[in-house]
């Protein structure tokens, strides 16, 4: 299962961090027409004040603690905290639902906080990641959702969350790391057991992974939240990487990463390996099969039980049963406009969704290639996982692993059969 999750990686650092990174790293210069230059530079660098407002609009604090100084979103909107409380037994559903809720809550337990983000992340990387999120944490099922963020908004958010990319600010640390010994760094990584939690895609297999029980609550969060080290060189400024290795908790007090006693030379060598190890290109994922239609009747009850209820309801729910909140895919949230797509019962599913002009459309209307829209959205999620996002269809489920080929086959068969009850 870990290997299959590890296979979800799609990013090649050679192709990463497009767009404003060059402007962001360059030292600002003055020239004629300073107002225009300043405005253009500000736009290229992003506006942290706008970024703060965007963080509220996109409801970053609904998942991530430490995102904004404002109080946390209302509890009903906090996806992870609700699930954490269900698992901890402190949120009491009705008796007969308790068992079902606990069994059903397998995801949305662990989520990285954004505490001290501005000390750590490169803005250029954030700008790219926000527009094109990918599976950064192979042992964590949910991923950053692909929100409706444009390039300018991504830059502003990155300016709010990230550290300035100006090369001069990080030159000393970069030079320090350049003096490190990557070979020793790799040996240290194995000796210190870093592979116990971290995957490092693209380097020769690392030894030293201690046997860790994923069910062990003490290490569960460490395992889930440990990012793939392949992307550390893009994500973190060199000084942030050094500081992190010296003391993760000083950089981020709520981190799940343990403190590793390291000498300054060891820190430098580890950082050198992380930043300079040769990375094999990521292999393109083979396309998962699109299974043929089933040859048996498929009813709404089966599709609802296996797909809608299990996966879709939270975001496409019934507001009357949920304090007026039908979820981001229905009454809006995460910066999405209300789309009115309610997947809770047959009649609601048949009622479709609302477009940008406020017009209702069937969720099953065929796209240009004849694929029903709902099926196209499910297939698009698989494309996103393979780093081939579609511009015209947002993949579903948002921020979750794609449905299995069998589940998509079930939905597609049901639709093809005329959506029988």
């Amino acid at each position: 299962m870990l290997l299959s999750l590890a296979a979800c990686h799609r990013r090649d650092p050679a192709g990463a961090a497009p767009g404003p990174s060059a402007a962001a790293s360059a030292a600002p210069t003055t020239s004629a027409a300073p107002a225009t230059t300043t405005a253009a530079l500000a736009e290229a660098l992003g506006d942290p004040e706008k970024g703060h407002a965007l963080a509220l609009r996109f409801e970053c604090n609904r998942c991530h603690d430490g995102a904004v100084p404002e109080p946390a979103a209302a509890f009903e909107l906090q996806c992870f905290h609700c699930h954490q409380q269900i698992l901890a037994g402190t949120l009491k559903p009705p008796k007969r639902q308790e068992k079902r809720w606990r069994e059903g809550v397998t995801g949305l337990r662990d989520v990285p906080t954004l505490t001290s983000a501005s000390k750590r992340f490169r803005r250029a990387w954030l700008t790219s990641f926000l527009q094109n999120p990918f599976d950064l944490r192979p042992r964590l099922a949910p991923t950053m959702p692909r929100l409706a963020i444009n390039a300018a908004e991504a830059r502003d958010l990155a300016a709010y969350f990230g550290a300035p990319d100006t090369a001069a600010l990080h030159a000393e640390a970069a030079a320090e790391i350049a003096r490190g010994d990557a070979g020793r760094g790799r040996a240290l990584m194995e000796a210190k057991g870093c592979p116990s939690c971290h995957v490092f895609t693209g380097v020769p297999a690392l030894a030293g992974a201690a046997k860790v029980d994923p069910a062990d609550k003490g290490v569960a969060a460490s395992l889930s939240l440990a990012p793939d080290l392949r992307y550390a060189r893009e994500r973190l400024h060199p000084d942030a990487l050094l500081a992190w290795l010296k003391s993760p908790k000083q950089m981020k007090p709520d981190t799940a990463m343990p403190e590793l006693p390291l000498t300054p030379v060891e820190v430098r060598d580890l950082a050198a390996y992380v930043r300079t190890a040769t990375l094999a290109p990521i292999e393109a994922l083979p396309a998962l099969p699109r299974l043929p239609l089933l040859g048996r009747p498929v009813t709404y009850d089966e599709v609802s039980g296996r797909v809608f209820k299990r996966t879709c309801w939270h975001c496409h729910g019934e507001p009357d049963y949920a304090v007026g909140d039908g979820g981001p895919g229905n009454t809006g949230g995460f910066g999405f406009k209300p789309r009115g797509l309610n997947l809770v019962d047959y009649s609601s599913v048949a009622s479709g969704f609302v477009d940008d002009q406020g017009e209702r459309h069937s969720a099953f209307e065929p796209l240009a290639d004849g694929t029903p829209r709902m099926v196209a959205a499910l297939l698009a999620r698989r494309s996103e996982e393979a780093d081939r996002p579609r511009a015209d269809v947002r993949g579903m489920p948002l921020g979750y692993p794609a449905l299995s080929p069998e589940e998509i086959q079930l939905v597609e068969t049901w639709v093809a059969q005329g959506r029988p009850r």
């Binding site: 905290h81 402190t90 009649s347 009622s351 479709g352 209702r360 059969q417």
Partner: protein, 224 residues
């Protein structure tokens, strides 16, 4: 009251005070505070009533909503999300038995559907309720279909029903089998054979009780 009794009461209260304070909720923290949230059982019961409605158990569905909201007949649309759902259930239950619904024994304002006048009165109540619900939840094919289904039961409203349903059908947004059944009957009354058959087919696909999709032949088509 004697002074000694007052002192005893006050003393007892002071002794119990720490227990009361201990039971008081702790100040809330940003997250991780233990608290208990209990789902309102009314929601579950309404959901069960909706299931009964969908299964064709109209009297049971209507009885349930009266048990949850005894004053339902005098509750206005918009009073609350659950009472709105209850009103919808009651309205559709009345529609689907052509107004012949008698439920709510023991409540202040039950529903009686025995005489033709009572049946028509129930249908008018249903139409009025569903119209208000439709206005409240604008641009919802589900509510539009419900309203059109009710309108289709009363001759003077059939044109309006037809307009709503044909528009929804063009965009594949008729939200219920009953909606398609209504549309099929309206097509039949207008002598529109092919659209009628298409609506019947969609109805049969959407229901577990295909009998509900049968369209009685209209006098015009049987008079040959």
């Amino acid at each position: 009251m004697k002074l000694r009794s007052i002192v005893r009461i006050v003393s007892a209260s002071l002794l119990l005070l720490p227990f009361g304070l201990a039971g008081a909720p702790a100040p809330a923290e940003a997250c991780g505070t233990e608290f208990f949230s209990v789902v309102d059982h009314s929601a579950e019961n309404i959901s069960s009533a909706e299931k009964a409605l969908g299964q064709g158990r109209y009297e049971a569905a209507a009885t349930s909503v009266f048990q949850i909201f005894p004053k339902l007949r005098s509750t206005k649309v918009g009073a609350g999300p659950l009472s709105d759902r209850a009103l919808r259930i009651l309205a559709l239950a009345a529609v689907r038995v052509d107004g012949g619904l008698t439920v709510g024994k023991g409540v202040t304002w039950p529903m009686a559907g025995v005489t033709p006048e009572q049946k028509e009165g129930n249908l008018v109540f249903a139409i009025d309720t569903l119209r208000k619900l439709n206005e409240k939840r604008a641009n919802s094919p589900s509510f539009q279909t419900d309203l059109a289904e009710a309108l289709g039961k009363v001759p003077r409203y059939r044109a309006e029903s037809y307009a709503i349903l044909t528009q929804l059908a063009k965009k594949d947004l008729v939200a219920s089998a009953e909606g398609y059944a209504t549309l099929a009957r309206l097509h039949e009354a207008l002598g529109e054979g092919a659209p009628r058959d298409a609506a019947v087919k969609r109805c049969e696909g959407m229901t577990k009780t295909p009998k509900a999709c049968q369209v009685p032949a209209s006098p015009a088509t049987t008079s040959s």
